[in-house]
Symmetry: C2
Subunit: 187 residues, 2 copies
DNA sequence: CTATTCTTTTATCATAAGATAAATAATTAC
DNA sequence: GTAATTATTTATCTTATGATAAAAGAATAG
């Protein structure tokens, strides 16, 4: 649990009572490679924090498996388009390396917002930062060739390429696996 | 100002005092077509609400003008990657139709968060919704041909195509103006 | 109202990436 | 440790989109 509170400190340090309140609505989950942490079609009622392992959010478009994003140690995962709307998600969370995860019950968390403004502020800041990342990602997707996007990934997040099967990286970059392979063989 | 408070109601209704506090840090701006509401390089210290008019956020990549997003009546604009990080923005906000805009001083707004948790909650929800939109947009960008993206825009936001010069739409879709023109002539 | 500028379309050619198939290479299961 | 499965690469062919140039059309300024 300590890793989580360390992570929180970067956004908004919490009082002991607030930490305790979050600990009470959280649990530790260990889950093995290739398992789905959350399936497609379920409404997201949990915010996850990865202590160890790798995960991705993925969905199917016209029967093709598409990776929306990868997640590594010390980050928060949630299918926000479900979490914030209450609608079922068309996306799943899959574990790509055996993982140790902290699961925070979001229904109870949102209730804590009323009694602990500091918790509301914390998660406001966490999701503001995630929003910024997403906006920046759009910038990287507009008007860049597949090769440029691959090279950017190689520079900015080489761990993705080292820890994740390329077939998942391809759809994340918005190209086919074959194209990715071609690009990697530079031309 | 009323249009703004009507808009807020959809997210989190405010007390009269909170509305008054926001009114005090806001001002009305009228600005004409083609003007920049905020230039590139400035740090975003204002959250705008469009009462009337159209705007876009744009930036230059390798000297090419790229539209990140369009904004119409009854929506909030801010260059969040600057607003939430305090760093200067590489993006500008340009007015595409003579506009009437409410400008909220974000520095003062963020101070109000301490005295009015309801205001913090309101903007948390506004930006959560904006975050969800952005996540959904990424989905539309992965693995879709330019033609599919054009048709999606035509269905989901025909007002963009009716009120905005096509040269700006092209970069928004991630294609050249010439390609867009070709697609519009269906092939 | 005319000239100038800006926007959109059309045309041609070049190229990056898709589709499909098949060959290697690497993992996993037994 | 071997077979079976899964992942990656290589090859060929096709197609969508980029780049460039030029023409047509629309908007704006004087």
């Amino acid at each position: 649990m300590d890793a989580l509170f360390q992570y929180f400190k970067k956004f908004n340090p919490l009082s002991n009572e607030a930490e305790k309140a979050i600990a009470e609505i959280s649990s530790i989950v260990t889950i093995t490679k290739n398992k789905d942490l959350q399936p497609i079609g379920h409404t997201c009622k949990t915010i996850y924090f990865i202590k160890k392992g790798v995960a991705r959010i993925y969905y199917f478009k016209d029967g093709i498996d598409i990776t929306e994003r990868f997640f590594f140690e010390n980050s928060i995962i949630a299918r926000v388009e479900s979490l914030f709307t209450g609608k079922p998600s068309r996306k799943a969370i899959q574990i790509l390396e055996d993982a140790e995860i902290i699961a925070i019950n979001s229904t109870q968390l949102f209730k804590l917002y009323d009694t602990f403004p500091e918790i509301e502020r914390l998660f406001r800041k966490i999701f503001e930062a995630a929003y910024v990342e997403t906006v920046n990602r759009i910038e990287g997707m507009q008007f860049h060739s597949a090769e440029e996007r691959y090279n950017a990934l190689l520079n900015e997040a080489p761990n993705v390429l080292m820890r994740v099967p390329l077939k998942y990286v391809a759809s994340f970059l918005g190209i086919t696996q074959v194209s990715l392979s071609r690009i990697r063989g530079h031309r």
